[in-house]
């Protein structure tokens, strides 16, 4: 079940998505973290960040909105405190990196390179940060520039995570490939607004959370995006958006994905990454496929 993107080896194609799994080790009471294909860390910035004030979570029909605002411990503490633990516990991880300038990303890349971090996922699409961050993900020229610069500083497996909040995802995917990335992950959250209005004792009360929409509700959008990205690039695609069961994996493969990230569903069923890996392995064995690659090929061939 092991798979490889560039030189980065994962135990299986099921990855815990950034922002939904912390820095991996906190989840040990709830699932067998060492069996997960890989864990994408919470988005990490150069400096620690405390994130947004106010309400950060809003549940929606078949999904949720978050506006965490990249609360994280910063790359320095990550390297010092987390990497040793992850290594000791044999947890495969991907550094999810975010910044607001090309310099931020370049520096993160150098630090990642120097510290032997094997895979890095650029979050160029976080809709929760006011500064530059989102812009890279929506403009193909800036994105090309950004990824090229990071590529220069970083020798490991470079994954770029695309946002669905754009007119032309194809152009962005092509730019990422041209700039030398090793894979594309898609999708980040959709821009969403949650409003709850109650009328009590003659007065209106309102809760409002503007942020990123995730969960089952976005699966059709994610599948459409993955399919479009597939038309624009030959890079491996890590598909995500509302994945919750085995057949979802097949759907993403059919759209063009090679591996998967699981986000919101970790909150609903915290051992879902283990379950999916087991079910996938079991499906391959019981139905006589050679291996995961073979299954993937067969699914891509279906008319």
């Amino acid at each position: 079940m092991g798979i490889k993107i560039a030189n980065f080896e994962m135990k299986n194609p099921i990855i815990a998505a950034s922002g939904t799994f912390g820095y991996a080790d906190e989840f040990e009471d709830f699932c067998d973290v060492s069996k997960i294909g890989a864990v994408a860390t919470k988005g990490i910035t150069l400096e620690p960040r405390s994130g947004n004030d106010g309400e950060r979570i809003f549940e929606t029909d078949c999904g949720m909105i978050n506006r965490i605002g990249l609360e994280n411990i910063g790359i320095e503490r990550f390297v010092e405190e987390k990497i040793p633990v992850l290594k000791k516990k044999n947890i495969i991880y991907i550094l999810n990196a975010a910044g607001s300038t090309i310099e931020d990303y370049s520096k993160l890349a150098s630090i990642a390179h120097k510290n032997g971090i094997e895979a890095m996922e650029l979050n160029v699409s976080c809709p929760n940060v006011k500064s530059g961050c989102l812009e890279f993900g929506t403009d193909e020229n800036s994105l090309y520039e950004l990824v090229s610069r990071v590529r220069k500083n970083y020798g490991g497996c470079l994954i770029v995570k695309l946002t669905p909040n754009v007119t032309n995802i194809e152009n962005l995917a092509a730019a990422v490939e041209k700039a030398g990335a090793n894979a594309i992950s898609a999708i980040n959250t959709l821009k969403g607004l949650g409003i709850k209005i109650e009328y009590l004792n003659g007065k209106f009360h309102k809760k409002e959370v503007q942020g990123g929409l995730s969960g089952k509700c976005i699966k059709p959008v994610a599948l459409a995006m993955v399919k479009r990205i597939r038309t624009a690039t030959k890079l491996p695609i890590i598909g995500m958006g509302g994945i919750s069961c085995l057949s979802d994996l097949f759907e993403f493969i059919s759209a063009g994905a090679d591996a998967f990230e699981i986000g919101t569903q970790n909150f609903t069923r915290c051992d879902i990454c283990n379950t999916l890996a087991d079910e996938l392995e079991n499906f391959i064995k019981t139905n006589g496929f050679k291996d995961y690659e073979d299954l993937k090929e067969k699914i891509k061939e279906i008319k």
Binding site: F21, D29, S50, R56, E59, N66, N266, F267, R269
Partner: protein, 238 residues
């Protein structure tokens, strides 16, 4: 994976208007007042957290009030039905060997009753006051029950008579805030159980953070993981 639990419903009964007491048989080994469990409600994406009201030999009791789809799902559970929950989660009350005043508001009485049991079993003197909006919402078990008015109005009088050294409280944010103010004014220690919408329930998503003062610095704390119980003095109100 010790905190994913599959339990079975032992009892699910109405105890007040729109309020139910749910008993769950489980393998849980330990639980303390102030901790909570998070119940999977299949119609919803996010688990629903409920304070533990009592714990004995693996049987967990919670009180829940009907709000929306999640609690209506839980209401539909019958004896023998399976239930998927996480727990016991969070860090509960840090029990001190001090004369304790317990202040509950509405369904916030649940962890207070559990705390009262724990205090009693340690022989710590305590007094529980709880407030409810109206008669038919009253849940029994308090030393004083306020109906209609605010529990806060009774704190001076009780403090005068009972002379507590510490206050523990659970209820809506507004009540907790007033309890904190009161404690500060009377130079009393106070521990309060906070609430926010939870996503992950376990501290990883950073969805439920509040600001607290720690080591002289304002920091983030996840209610679900670092709380729900906080030292009232440490909480930085928004």
């Amino acid at each position: 994976m010790k905190k994913i639990q599959k339990g079975t419903i032992k009892k699910n009964r109405l105890i007040a208007k729109d309020t139910f007491a749910l008993e769950i048989l489980s393998d849980v080994k330990e639980a303390h007042s102030g901790q909570f469990i998070s119940i999977l409600c299949p119609p919803k994406v996010l688990r629903r957290p409920f304070s533990i009201k009592g714990f004995k030999n693996g049987t967990i009791e919670v009180f829940f009030k009907l709000k929306g789809e999640g609690t209506n799902y839980i209401k539909s559970l019958k004896e023998g039905d399976n239930i998927d929950f996480l727990g016991a989660l969070g860090s509960g009350f840090n029990i001190k060997n001090k004369k304790s005043l317990l202040v509950g508001a509405g369904i916030g009485i649940a962890p207070m009753l559990f705390l009262k049991d724990e205090l009693n079993s340690r022989g710590i003197e305590n007094f529980l006051i709880t407030g409810f909006k109206c008669e038919n919402e009253v849940i029994k078990g308090s030393d004083k029950t306020v109906i209609g008015g605010s529990v806060i109005d009774f704190l001076p009088e009780i403090t005068e008579k009972f002379k507590p050294q510490i206050i523990y409280s659970c209820g809506p944010e507004i009540v907790l805030k007033l309890v904190s103010d009161f404690a500060k004014k009377h130079d009393l220690e106070a521990q309060i159980a906070m609430e926010k919408v939870f996503a992950c329930q376990v501290g990883v998503c950073r969805g439920c953070v509040i600001k607290i003062l720690k080591d002289g610095k304002v920091q983030n704390a996840a209610i679900c993981h670092d709380g729900p119980v906080f030292d009232a003095k440490a909480v930085v109100w928004e």
